[in-house]
Structures are given as structure tokens and as C-alpha cells.
């Protein structure tokens, strides 16, 4: 679960740095004294700093020698920076392969969940019938069954299908998200009036065209949010990948990182280096998607 801190780090840091830019635009905030403004800035910066601190220490540790890592007090900037941890990790484990596996898994899962949720959510919102209501209730009901309950049967299913140690095997439980269907259904009900679809039907559009050209563009915000959610759900998944992936080559990064931590020893230096490397793709993707997310949420707020 090493990718957790970076999410929190980025999230908290953003408002801390953003306040300076946003505050002057709000007229009612202007009345406050500059001193109070400054104090709020300082407080938020400090708060942000403490949130990012573990992350900074993790990155710093990756560049430290074993001796310095155990030194007290811990140093934020390594005295003798070394890249031996990185070279060791990259040469002794297929780290890049694991990152690739995780990326492929998370992206495929996010795409699959976005597509299935968009289609199912739209149908359940706009084509109501008795069957749909029952189906929707069943889908919601699946959300209350913990994954651990069907983990083992799912494993046997994967085994029977012969997809252990592969991307399809990893994806088996990650193609549909009941919450996603719920989210999109609510969003469609809330933001797409029937008249819009009727107007398109009269204009001569077919149902698939309506879905692709009218509904999906209007759901951009919700789908963006769902994509991020689904991506990180898969990226941080641990239980299912460790069960279904049994060869070193097929591990995801989460499973791979856990290997540094055995029952008796924790290889701190190499774990830190590996974690620091893992941060690069996940932080990059988050930054990109976050911009998309903010845009999406902002545009759905504009009601016709």
C-alpha cells in the first residue's frame, strides 16, 4: 500500500498552494487583514508539509546508505547520496515488469469499468422497467458482499478458465463496479433530461448514436471521476493479485513490493527505492487525471 501516501500528499498539497491564487479573487475574503491571510497560508503550508513529510522521507531513504537510514535523528537530505539501492532493485527484481503489469491491469480495469458503468447506468436510468429495477437492486446488493467471501470461488473459476498468472486473470473481478453503475445512473437521472434524448430521436439519431454523441459527452465529469477511482482501486489492489499471480513475472507492483518485507527482515533501502520508483507513474497519472477531473466536475455544474 505504498501508493497511498502519494494520493494524500498531492491532495493536501494542492489546496495549500492553491489558496494563494484563489483567495484574492473572492471579494468577501478581501476584507480580512493581510496578517490573518498570512497566518492561514502559514498554517496550511505547515499542514501540507507534515502530510508530505513521510513521502519525502521515503524518497530520501531511497538514496541513503544502510547506516544512515538507521541513524537518529533521521536526515531529510542524505549526507552521502547513493543510487546503489536503485541499481540493486532494478537488477535483482523485475520491477519495471511489475510496474508495467500494474499499469496494464489498472488501465484495463478503469476502461472496462467506465464502459460497463456508462452503458448499464444509462440503461437503468433512462429505460425503466420492472426488469431493470430488479436488476438494479441485484447489482446494488452485490456491493454489500465483501470481496473475501467470493475470493476463493473466483480463484477456482480463474483456474478453470486457465487464466492464472495473466492479465485476464487479474481483471476477472475488476471489469464491473456496482458503485460505478450506481454513480452513472444517478448522474444520468440528475443531469440528462428526457427531452434531450427525445429531441435527438426526432432529429433522426439512432439509440447508439444518442449514447455516444449525446450521453457520453454529458457524462464526461462523472466518467472521469469514476475512471480515477477505478484506476486507483486496481493499482492498489493486493489480495486478488497475490492470489491469482503466482509467478514472479506476473506480479503487480503491490505484490512485488510486499516481497521486500519477509517474516524476518525488512529490506528498507531497496523497499524505499522500489517505492520511490513506483511513485513516478502513479503520481504522473494522478496529476493528469486530476486536471481532467476538475474540468469535468466544473462543466457538469453548468445546468441548462
Amino acid at each position: 500500500m505504498t501508493s497511498r501516501p502519494d494520493i494524500h500528499g498531492v491532495k493536501v498539497e494542492a489546496p495549500a498552494t492553491g489558496t494563494g491564487g484563489v483567495l484574492p479573487d473572492l471579494p468577501h475574503r478581501r476584507k480580512k487583514t493581510p496578517l490573518a491571510d498570512r497566518a492561514i497560508d502559514v498554517f496550511l503550508l505547515l499542514f501540507g508539509f507534515f502530510m508530505v513529510l513521510p513521502l519525502l522521507l521515503l524518497i530520501a531513504n531511497a538514496f541513503k546508505t544502510p547506516e544512515e537510514m538507521l541513524a537518529w535523528p533521521p536526515t531529510l537530505v542524505p549526507r552521502e547520496p547513493t543510487i546503489s539501492n536503485f541499481t540493486s532493485v532494478l537488477s535483482s527484481t523485475p520491477l519495471l515488469r511489475w510496474i508495467f503489469n500494474s499499469l496494464a491491469f489498472a488501465l484495463s480495469s478503469a476502461i472496462a469499468i467506465s464502459v460497463t458503468s456508462a452503458i448499464a447506468g444509462y440503461l437503468m436510468a433512462k429505460f425503466p422497467s420492472r426488469t431493470m429495477s430488479v436488476l438494479f437492486a441485484v447489482i446494488l446488493a452485490t456491493a454489500i458482499v465483501p470481496f473475501e467471501v467470493y475470493m476463493i470461488p473466483l480463484y477456482f473459476q480463474a483456474q478453470a478458465l486457465g487464466i492464472l498468472n495473466s492479465l485476464p486473470g487479474l481483471l476477472l473481478g475488476y471489469l464491473v463496479m456496482s458503485f460505478g453503475i450506481f454513480l452513472i445512473r444517478q448522474n444520468v437521472i440528475h443531469s440528462i433530461p428526457d427531452e434531450l434524448l427525445e429531441a435527438a430521436r426526432i432529429d433522426g439519431a439512432g439509440e447508439i448514436w444518442i449514447f455516444v454523441r449525446v450521453v457520453v459527452p454529458l457524462l464526461r465529469g462523472a466518467l472521469g471521476a469514476l475512471f480515477v477511482l477505478a484506476f486507483f482501486q486496481a493499482w492498489t489492489a493486493f489480495a486478488w493479485p497475490i492470489i491469482v499471480a503466482t509467478t514472479k513475472e506476473s506480479y503487480t507492483i503491490e505484490v512485488g513490493l510486499a516481497l521486500f518485507q519477509t517474516g524476518f527482515t525488512i529490506d528498507l533501502g531497496r523497499l524505499s527505492a522500489a517505492s520511490a520508483l513506483v511513485l513516478v507513474p502513479s503520481v504522473t497519472i494522478f496529476i493528469f487525471l486530476r486536471r481532467n477531473l476538475v474540468q469535468g466536475v466544473a462543466s457538469t455544474g453548468l445546468k441548462e
Binding site: 427531452e195 429531441a199 426526432i202 432529429d203 433522426g204 449525446v214 454529458l218 441548462e304
Partner: protein
């Protein structure tokens, strides 16, 4: 352009009979307004013409073609919705050209048609904007534009002006009427606003509870309503109703209200009305201010006086019946004061209280 014929149409939702045996003839190029209180089935009927609701029984024809089983997109109609139903993610030009794009017209052709429609509607400077950047009136025009661009056989409007403020509504009303005058496309327009119906329609269809109460040109409906519902629905402030019966004194028939006031009536009507309970109906503008002693005047006790500038609305009690009179003069009477009003018997109607039907004076043309 085409006529629309609605023949014995029914609509049944589950166990509710929403439209009952409605037949309406919409001549080619005419502007027909369906009007009625909410829930009367007018919007459902429009949606059935558009193909958004199935027809339970009966037939709808556009031109010579029965369109009961025809898909909305093949009916060659254009519909303008109350909330405009513009595609929020498309520009004005894309919104207007959407149907042409679906019909695979060439880009140049779409651009030309969109430009022409924008010209008619005064939207030329807004073609690259998004709906959210437009005012309510402009959005309404884009919705119109989307309909015009298609050059359909029939325009369908579903309460298109009810989301606009009062002033803009009056302005758009005139614009719509003017555009219809220019394009001459058969138009069916649904509204609950009787003023919109009166001002725009060639022909008004008054509906209630899924039934056509009366069908006719605006002034016929106003002057000769078939029943108390139509009389009460058309006109603002609405017609006054007084309950009572016809009584003969000294050979002359008069209307005797429940509170004992004698109102003059047209002898041609009184002759037809029997001894059954009747309701006297008179529009507010058919009262005149009078002085005591003139024949046919009635004493009234003023309740409120509302000057509008051009005229004065007086609410007063005649006997125990509260009436509203619209007077040309400015009235200085105060609440509680007594004035004299003279109803014009030639303009008054009598309705059978039980059936609510208007009693037709002998000799009146149908």
C-alpha cells in the same frame, strides 16, 4: 407542409384513460393551439403526433400518410420543447445542424441552411457560442432554429415560452407568430396560457380530462363558449357566474339569482331556457358604471378597486354574488361603498346549471 388529421384517438396508460376519442383537423399551413389546464392531455396528444408516445387507438395522419407506426425521425416533424433540449456540449451552429448532419447532408449545405435560419432568428452572431452562454430568449430561438433548419412538414411546440419571463414571453409570442407568417408551416402549439392561445392561434382546441371541449377560432370561443368550462378558461379576468333560474314577472322573463337579484336577459335566450336551474355568465368588461334609477342597473357593494391605468378592475357583491367588473372609467369608490352596475344583457350567456352547457339563443347561427 402538410395537414394533420387526428381521428378518434385514444391514449391509455395502464388503467388511466388519458385521451378519449379526440378528433382534430389541422389544415395545411394553419397555427393550431391546444390549450387546457395541466393534466388535460394536451402534451400527451402532441407527443403522440411526434411519435414519442404510442397511439392506443385511432389514427393520426400527416398529409395523406397514417403515421401511427412510423418512427419519430421518419415523420418529418420538428419539435420545440419547454426546456429547449439543446445539446449543452454543442455550439449553436452544431445544435442547429445536428439533424442535417444525421441525414448526411454535405457540410456546405448544412452551413448554408444554418446561416439562413440564424438570419431569420437574429442568431448570426451567436453561432459559435454554447447554449450556456446564451440568455433564455436566445436559447429559445436556437431551439426554433433547430426546427426551422429541417424544413419539416409540421412544427410541434410544447409550452415553449413558459420558461421565459413575462416581458420576453410577449415578445417571443409576436416573433413566433411572425415567423409562422413567413414560413407558413403547419404548427401545433401546446400551452396552458389562454392568452398565448388567443393571440397566436388560427384555431384553438380547448381540452379537459382528455376530451376536446371546444374547437374554433379564438373569438368564437370567447363570444360563444359551448359550456361553462370553456367560458371560464378563456378570458382574463375570467367570466362571472351567478346561479339562479329564469322567472317571469309582468310578462318579461328575467334571471333571478339565488339571493333574489333580478338580472335582465336576452329574451331570445330566456325563451329557450325552461324552468330548470341556470347559471348566468357575464364577462367583466360587459358591465358599465351606471347611476341609480336607470333601467337594468343593479346595486353593488364594492369589495376592492384595482386601477391598472388603462382600466379599473372592480370586485363587488351583487346580492350575495361576488363579481368582477372591468370598467373604462376611473372609479373612486372605496370598499364598502355602493355603486350601480349595468350588465349588458346582449352579451350575457345562460348555462344549464346541471349540464353546464350554454343555452343557445333562438336564431343564433352555429
Amino acid at each position: 407542409m402538410s395537414s394533420v388529421e387526428i381521428e378518434n384517438v385514444h391514449k391509455i396508460f395502464g388503467t388511466t384513460h388519458v385521451i378519449r376519442d379526440v378528433s382534430i383537423d389541422v389544415p395545411d399551413g394553419s397555427f393550431v393551439v391546444l390549450v387546457g389546464p395541466s393534466g388535460c392531455g394536451k402534451s400527451t396528444l402532441l407527443r403522440m403526433i411526434a411519435g414519442l408516445e404510442e397511439i392506443s387507438a385511432g389514427e393520426i395522419k400527416i398529409g395523406a400518410r397514417v403515421i401511427n407506426e412510423v418512427q419519430p425521425k421518419h415523420r418529418n416533424i420538428a419539435m420545440v420543447f419547454q426546456n429547449y433540449a439543446l445539446y449543452p456540449h454543442m455550439t449553436v451552429a452544431e445544435n442547429m445542424g445536428f439533424s442535417l448532419r444525421l441525414a448526411r447532408h454535405s457540410k456546405d449545405e448544412i452551413a448554408t441552411k444554418v446561416r439562413d435560419a440564424a438570419q431569420i432568428l437574429g442568431l448570426s452572431n451567436y453561432l459559435e457560442r454554447f447554449p450556456r452562454e446564451l440568455s433564455g430568449g436566445q436559447r429559445q430561438r436556437v431551439a426554433m432554429g433547430r426546427a426551422i433548419v429541417r424544413d419539416p412538414e409540421v412544427f410541434l411546440f410544447d409550452e415553449p415560452l413558459s420558461n421565459l419571463d413575462a416581458k420576453l414571453r410577449v415578445q417571443m409570442r409576436a416573433e413566433l407568430k411572425e415567423i409562422h407568417g413567413r414560413l407558413k408551416t403547419t404548427t401545433i402549439y401546446v400551452t396552458h396560457d389562454q392568452i398565448e392561445a388567443m393571440t397566436m392561434a388560427d384555431k384553438i382546441v380547448v381540452m379537459r380530462d382528455g376530451v376536446v371541449e371546444q374547437l374554433g377560432d379564438p373569438l368564437t370561443l370567447y363570444d360563444r363558449p359551448v359550456n361553462m368550462f370553456v367560458a371560464g378558461f378563456i378570458g382574463s379576468p375570467s367570466i362571472n357566474f351567478v346561479g339562479g333560474r329564469i322567472a317571469r314577472t309582468d310578462g318579461a322573463a328575467k334571471f333571478l339569482s339565488h339571493s333574489g337579484v333580478r338580472w335582465q336577459v336576452d329574451p331570445r335566450v330566456a325563451e329557450v331556457a325552461g324552468g330548470t336551474p341556470v347559471t348566468y355568465g357575464i364577462r367583466p368588461e360587459h358591465f358599465a358604471l351606471a347611476t341609480d334609477g336607470e333601467s337594468g342597473t343593479l346595486p353593488a357593494v364594492v369589495v376592492t378597486v384595482e386601477p391598472t391605468g388603462a382600466e379599473t378592475h372592480v370586485v363587488a357583491d351583487i346580492g350575495e354574488d361576488r363579481i368582477t367588473a372591468v370598467l373604462r372609467e376611473r372609479v373612486s369608490a372605496r370598499p364598502g361603498e355602493k355603486i350601480h352596475l349595468r350588465p349588458d344583457p346582449a352579451q350575457a350567456h345562460l348555462f344549464e346549471s346541471e349540464s353546464t352547457l350554454r343555452i343557445q339563443p333562438s336564431g343564433e347561427a352555429h
